[in-house]
Symmetry: C2
Subunit: 200 residues, 2 copies
């Protein structure tokens, strides 16, 4: 990848700042002016990138949804069901770990919930959440499997955004989310990839 | 139990009506007047029982929270860890199945979330959610166990309130929630209590 231009740098700083302010004040309680002030730019500079707060909220949520979409496509291209589940689960967990601030906001702010749920509805037809659950549960799943997958999908995402686990480092959180997901989906325990102590 | 008086009947009809209207219009979008109209009584009759919408919302949420509290106390009185977990899990699942409308509202309405989270803070000190998780995970749980319990607690409750499972009958939902919970908590599979076919 080439280095970002000044404009893409500002755009990306703007989205980071928006997510930070959304987390502190809620989407409802954050104005374009507040984002401009926090960035130290004029409101016109914000308008150059986004016309409305809704556009900003969508742009904050979009990369995570796109990544989820990509993980699903990658998983579907794999041949064995086991490999599909493992890829979808580990990709999902990786995304949860990296997007903890966004998830924490999603779990507590109806403004961002609305926007993310809208973003989940991609051009591919069925929404991303439904397609992810279909990869994990398989074609025509039993009700038991569908429910287990629903518990995994929502439960893992809720843990990722829960304030009581905000202090846990990425590696430890990833390991435990994977373990919980594999247990519930009936996948065998993974071998430890190396000798890292938990918590490091 | 003795038969309810007319006043307690009205109070209970009022709470049922409030929950129904909250589900349709959100807590925010429901007025005392709307509740009175739906019940076919005057606003004064509603005021006789509740002074504010907040009081109604709390009364809608209270029985479920009290019941959860009682399940926890019962579980804690049992001697073996296995029996404690089984009692807490089955009581929690039973409550989820019976309170699906309230859960569905909880999962989608920030107004009721605030009220229920407030109701969770009982006089016993730690809130009911924390105490339930402590019964399921044991004293000084490992981080892995704490996270597995968090996934169970939030995941099962989310399934209970999810619109896609609203049409499933109570027995089937109860069976699958229990199975998912037991799998994740590492409890052995239960013997089927009888020969009911799933889905009946």
């Amino acid at each position: 990848m080439t280095a970002g231009t000044a404009a893409t740098d500002t755009r990306s700083r703007l989205l980071d700042t928006a997510l930070k302010l959304f987390s502190e004040h809620g989407v409802e309680g954050t104005s374009l002016q507040m984002i401009a002030d926090e960035l130290g730019v004029t409101k016109a500079a914000v308008y150059y990138h986004f016309k409305t707060k809704d556009e900003i909220t969508e742009a904050v949520a979009a990369p995570g949804v796109q990544e989820l979409d990509q993980i699903i496509e990658e998983a579907r291209a794999l041949r064995s069901r086991g490999a599909q589940i493992d890829h979808a689960l580990s990709g999902f967990v990786e995304l949860i770990v990296r997007q903890r601030s966004l998830l924490s906001l999603y779990n507590s702010d109806p403004g961002i919930q609305r926007v993310i749920n809208r973003a989940f509805r991609t051009p591919r037809g069925e929404d991303v959440k439904t397609r992810m659950k279909a990869v994990l549960a398989g074609e025509n799943p039993s009700l038991a499997d569908a429910i287990a997958v629903h518990v995994v999908f929502t439960g893992l995402a809720m843990v990722g955004g829960a304030p009581e686990y905000a202090g846990i480092d990425d590696d430890t959180l990833r390991e435990h989310l994977l373990e919980a997901g594999r247990r519930l989906l009936g996948r065998p325990r993974r071998k430890r990839p190396d000798n890292h102590l938990p918590g490091r």
